[in-house]
Amino acid sequence: MKKFVNNVDNMLTESLSGFEKAHSDLVLLHLEPNYLTRKTKAENKVAVISGGGAGHEPLHAGFIGKGMLDAACPGQVFTSPTPDQMMAAAEAVDTGKGVLFIAKNYAGDVMNFEMAGEILSIKNATVLTSDDCAVINSTFTDGRRGVAGTVIVEKCVGSYAEAGADLATCKVLGDKINAQTASIGVAFTSCTVPAAGKPTFKISETEIEMGVGIHGEPGRKRETMREADAIIKDIVDAILTDLADKAKSAEVLLLVNGLGATPLMELYLIYNIAEKLLQEQGITIIRSLVGNYTTAIDMSGASITVCILDDEIKKHWDSPVHTAALRWGV
């Protein structure tokens, strides 16, 4: 494993310090427990807090700022943060209007956020994202995983909170977006968790991991490498099957997300293919995002997310945002 690292144990803190310095106009870092907040505390609004294991950067700290998150709690690489982090963050950013947690649906994240929510004396609610339709849903399991669609939920709910919506309404919007968003990822290589020092899984030059998660969890199927048209068609088909009637003649946001090591040149090539496929199905892409927004450390691969838009979601997607990783309208 070759990484820019001094000591694996300090990697997260050193990186967070660099993040704080590079964006000193935007964020403040708090250590022990670790959390980041906006540089200037917002007033009189629902506070939106997200968090999760590190290794998915810019998720979540890259989305702190006006129009999006008030705070983020980074865990160790691929490990949920702990309740004391969420509680400290909540106490720091609450304005009296309550706290909305946004967490990705993984057993660890769910339990840690849940405990924070239970112990916290500030009124709070949680939106769990579960856009990964590669994992078949079932009431007997932990259900679908949250992946890149989380960015859309954080952006729009952040905007809604900024506009003055109350806690319950913010949660309703978050749940709604999550319900009409579907994603699938595909990996060409494994990622390497720094503390483990070697790739999580082995994969040959002729194989791909279809339906991979954002933690190097193997996907649902090891498949044969093939041309981009064929790979993307399978992904788009599965997403549309999942969205079913909701996607009929819909206007959508298409997010092509790099998992870490895939060049922009390829992400735009994927966009080109996905756009054509969606259009053939009578679906209109009216918003787009292409880049590394929800990564799996250094994994080579990409995911596609389709979010069904309506006027409300569109408005909150378009509203001004000023964060390290998303910035427009300001």
Partner: protein
């Protein structure tokens, strides 16, 4: 035998040592069907409880267990953090109520810990998680204690149950935790959380035998 804070601290050291020894057995499992961090998560927890002796020794066993729970909660993270924390909280509650002065008392506390862990994780047996080791171990402990077996016999019974539970995870389809995403592909691998629990149980049983 009785569960005193000193014993808890020794157990923490034993667990810490055992985890390090068994790194090669634990680490590959979460890499194969999880996200590869389980060994690191458990180690982080083991390290921190092993370093707490100074602040624990003046406390009662139940207070010590609660303190450990809180520390694990704010240190481990991931799925394991709240689950382990739940386990120690459950134990603490029962120890406080019943004391820990017999095999049966300790067995009841262990079972209560597992009970609390189940509440937190909403899991059950057969889902290819640590519960496949913890539940059989807890039942066995209680039954063997009721039968008034010796510490050595109880240890053998618990170890056998833990081994069998661990082995049972091999052919299960994961339906809970990160490995659930793999569906059928999770078959053929042991569960990492089950393995680390088996290692920790064995370490504590061996210690118990040495002590009395």
């Amino acid at each position: 035998m009785s569960l005193q804070t000193k014993l808890i601290c020794s157990a923490a050291s034993a667990i810490h040592a055992a985890i390090i020894t068994h790194k090669p057995d634990i680490e590959p499992l979460d890499q194969a069907i999880g996200d590869g961090d389980h060994y690191i998560n458990v180690l982080r927890g083991a390290e921190v409880i092993d370093s707490m002796a100074d602040e624990l020794l003046s406390l009662g066993a139940d207070e010590a267990l609660n303190k450990i729970a809180m520390k694990l909660l704010s240190t481990v993270g991931g799925a394991a953090g709240p689950l382990y924390a739940g386990f120690f909280m459950g134990m603490a509650k029962t120890i406080k109520h019943n004391g820990g002065n017999s095999h049966l008392d300790i067995a009841a506390a262990f079972a209560a810990g597992v009970q609390e862990l189940i509440k937190r994780g909403k899991g059950k047996i057969g889902e290819k998680t640590m519960l496949d080791v913890l539940l059989p171990a807890a039942y066995t402990f209680i039954f063997s204690a009721i039968e008034n077996k010796t510490t050595a016999e109880i240890r053998d019974d618990i170890n056998a149950a833990a081994d069998k539970g661990l082995e049972s995870t091999r052919d299960l389809v994961a339906t809970r935790g990160r490995a659930a995403g793999l569906g059928e592909r999770s078959i053929g691998h042991l569960d990492a959380g089950a393995k680390s629990c088996q290692v920790m149980i064995k370490a504590v049983c061996d210690l118990a035998l040495k002590i009395k």
